[in-house]
Symmetry: C2
Subunit: 361 residues, 2 copies
């Protein structure tokens, strides 16, 4: 309740008013509210729901060193020259100690952020990739509602969890460099299934041409395989989300297919950036005409419900019930083996069920 007093509901009204008036300071405050799950954040998100879906959300992911920040900067400059308003959400799901962009990236980004048509926000790890994906989705919603034309979501890494973060995107770009290892390894990392576009960056280095060719070949192989085995392979697939026991949504009609192109860029010099922007637009058009945009939106809504159910449950468990104390208190019995983790878990869950929900937001 102390928490609630710190930011009473009345603030949300004022914040929303400033936000709707296009004040950037309100945008920043709204994002912080949502990112930190402060009281009233759900109320704010509810109010913003009708404003969603105008921005083109572009996820950019790839292994460390592939040049994600450089590509982002180049795209920002490109879109700004066309007069579009651009936001960047930089997500680093890795180390809470060392995390964040390299110094050079930071400086470059800082320069861009002097432009009033550019908004840049970093999101640090919240100790949980699942939580980070949810927070990224909600922060992106806030930015979308504010009225940006493009939102670039830059995520570090190539694992499943990083791909989950890009689930907030309409269009996912996977960045590789000639040295990323051979294409078979890229395939192993599950990237083929996630990407709407591939970019071989640093294409002035040796091996770029070959890598692009190999990727294209594997994509064709995959398409054949996919059509046989895996009906819904684009975008957010509920079979891949967090809850392990959850079955997929009823099968939607298959969208008209999209062949992920493989582009080559040298982001440092700007080579290939116009072509990349063109491909991004082509993908956005395809989303609209194929009905895929609507399908992805449905998946995102369903995902949001699921994430929110789990967040509420976790909040009740660890905050309201202080379940960690129950575990600590039982630690001697757990260590002696006189109580199993499975029995203690059942007890905790029973108590969680009985507890009333304090969080009435």
């Amino acid at each position: 309740m102390v928490q609630r007093m710190g930011a009473p509901r009345a603030d949300i009204e004022a914040l929303h008013r400033d936000f709707a008036a296009g004040r950037k300071v309100a945008l920043s405050r709204a994002i912080s509210l949502v990112e930190n799950e402060q009281p009233g954040f759900r109320e704010l998100l509810r109010r913003l729901l009708p404003l969603l879906g105008r921005a083109h959300r572009i996820g950019i992911t790839g292994p460390p060193g592939a040049g994600k920040s450089t590509i982002c900067s180049a795209l920002v400059r490109f879109y700004r020259e066309r007069g579009e308003k651009v936001a960047v959400v930089a997500v680093d799901p890795t180390s809470p100690f060392t995390g964040g962009a390299l110094l050079g990236d930071r400086i470059r980004m800082n320069e861009l952020s002097l432009d009033p048509g550019v908004f840049i926000r970093s999101m640090a790890s919240r100790g949980s990739v699942g939580g980070l994906a949810l927070a990224t989705g909600e922060v992106t919603d806030v930015i979308d509602a504010f009225g940006f034309d493009r939102i670039l979501i830059e995520t570090m890494g190539v694992g499943q969890s990083e791909l989950d973060v890009t689930a907030a995107a309409d269009t996912t770009v996977v960045l590789l460099v000639p040295e990323s290892g051979d294409s078979i390894q890229a395939m192993k990392a599950g990237l083929l299934e996630a990407a709407d576009l591939f970019v071989v960056n640093k294409a002035d280095r040796p091996g770029a041409e070959r890598m692009a060719r190999e990727l294209s070949m594997m994509l064709h192989l995959r398409m054949g395989k996919t059509l046989r085995n895996v009906p819904a392979h684009h975008g957010v697939d509920l079979r891949r989300v967090q809850a392990p026991a959850a079955p997929p949504l009823r099968e939607d009609a298959k969208p008209a297919s999209w062949d992920p192109p493989v582009l080559q860029t040298v982001a440092e010099t700007g080579r290939g950036i116009p072509e990349l922007a063109q491909s991004l637009d082509a993908h956005r058009s395809w989303l609209d005409t194929s009905g895929e945009r609507q399908r992805r939106r449905r998946n995102r809504l369903a995902e949001r419900v699921r994430d929110e159910v789990e967040r509420r449950f976790r909040h009740r468990l660890w905050k309201d019930l202080q379940a960690l104390d129950l575990i600590e208190d039982a630690m001697p019995q757990l260590e002696q083996g006189s109580m199993s983790p499975y029995d203690l878990a059942r007890t905790i869950l029973q108590r969680a069920n009985a507890a009333p929900e304090s969080d009435a937001d």
Copy 2:
């Protein structure tokens, strides 16, 4: 209930008897039972609890192409020559479509598995990294209880989620190759915090010496930083586990420090493998003498309780309550915006609380 009839509780007794008698077919069956969460799996795990903690659990992770499988094979051969029994758990948290080891790795592993003192098990993605980490921990428990001396847990990738999987390990080895990108990028990936040992593999390639030196330097920088800012930086740290809202366990006494060594190997030829095995033993000794083993075991127990609480909750939500149907039914209202995901989530959670727990296991 149909599920329950397929494997009645009586089977667990028989299975446990065969398992205790050292029959490998019982080991395989026990693993499948646990991995697939079939009825009785908790009962089996409870029975095995007193047998845990004998094996040295060695996690091996690193970026694609670093040679994880080759290092594993080399270590298996090394330990077998010393007469130790070795198990390998190969975890691939990536693509459910393309997943699994490369053909060459498979063949090498198949050859090893002809040796009766070797046991190899692959774990595929379960559509969820969180679920995979839990399953990996439980499967490793089963193998430990069976009586292996070493369990190598090989995981693909460098993301946080892959590190979660290695949380099942006593000792975590992070593998890099000279081409892994510069050390700053390695640091960015959060590897420095997770590793007990670093191995620069393919050390006959150019740049190995430099990379090892840089890593060592950064480790020293980190140690300084760590001692100031981050009290518990080794092993499973509850601040990094799934539940975003969970506070850390009360601070334990700080363990005597361990300086992660940086080794160089050429796994293909076996160069550096004896030194690696020696370092692994040194770390195991340190775990015992420093009290760190006990601390990690406590963390693992607490983690297991938390994972189990969430698994039970999810099971009730998605299986018992069929909550996905509720989401589907509400999709028109969600799409129109006449209902927010947040309201629907609250409704679902209220119904989940009211539902009785069917899973009495």
